[in-house]
């Protein structure tokens, strides 16, 4: 593919975001789509809106989420992601295990909207 027409600023920005560690991509996902949302339906609506345009970064977020969930994390990491970065209360199970359940639900949401757009 001839990408010479793509402005350098866009290519640099894509490279910058692509190079972020998985944990930072998950935080970007939570900050962008979860932290100010009131419901899962609102999260789904915003993700779907982006997916209809381009799934590049949503796919990266999904891969990052799967990495974070499948690899050992420092105790408290998942809980801080959900309650802190995601601004999402999980009083019913304030543990890394409880946070993992929420993050797995978010990963499934991402898979669904990416599949819909595909």
């Amino acid at each position: 593919m001839d990408t010479s027409g793509l402005p350098e600023a866009v290519r640099a920005r894509i490279a910058e975001r692509t190079a972020l560690p998985a944990i930072d991509k998950v935080r970007a996902l939570l900050h962008g789509y979860v932290s100010d949302a009131e419901t899962l339906d609102e999260i789904r609506r915003d993700l779907r809106s982006t997916a209809r345009t381009n799934t590049l970064f949503l796919q990266q977020y999904l891969t990052a989420l799967e990495t974070i969930l499948s690899e050992p994390q420092t105790p408290g990491t998942l809980l801080r992601l959900v309650e802190g970065d995601g601004n999402w209360g999980i009083d019913h199970d304030q543990t890394d295990g409880g946070a993992a359940v929420f993050l797995a639900q978010l990963a499934q949401l991402l898979r669904d909207v990416i599949a819909e757009a595909g």
């Binding site: 990408t3 894509i14 100010d36 609506r45 345009t53 799934t55 590049l56 309650e83 601004n87 304030q94």
Partner: protein, 222 residues
Amino acid sequence: MTGRPRRAYGGSPRAGSVAQAQDSAAEVARAGRPGSGLSRGSDDVASASTANPDDVAMRDVMRRYDQLGDEPPRFNVADNDAAYNTEGAHTIDRHGPDIPLRRDTTGKTIEGRIYGDDPWQKSATASYKWVDPSTMNRELNRYVRENWTAIRSDLAVDEFHESTFDAGHRVGQGYYNKGMYGAGPREAEYGETSLVRVRIKVVAGSDPAEPFIVSAFPAGLG
């Protein structure tokens, strides 16, 4: 509570190699709508230059980039929210300076969001509002002006930009849950913050591309 410094996406870019950028650009086209599903194999990349959907996706990225222009837009948050309410704009509704601070279960309050009081639909860990309209508009527009290169690129690619930045002074007041991270029962604690989170989108299907603020709000937690 004053926020610690944060790196906005637009600052100090860590650009990768040219090859990495070119690979990523190819991914943009492959992931773009319409067309090209995720089931595409690597073999398809080689023929992407002749695949019409990819070309369309690349043209859409370029169209948005060109239409958004070199000059950053200026926003008035109240006007923005009125115009794009149906698109999901809600800064005033959830973080407006006029929302009462202290918990009162007869109406919407900033503190009440910590507990999920009606009309909030769930409990939050942090809930902050802008200290006043002029701070809100000034800080938002300063951020957009200083980070337009990154914002414009993000909006061109998938019509979405988010970032968190430190305004360097008090911009918001509100509450955070003192019992977060399993520290104890849910309990709202008053705090002030200099952190701001911004989310910007392009109106779906707009041509020329029309950016709007989904929400820009003081973020008590980084």
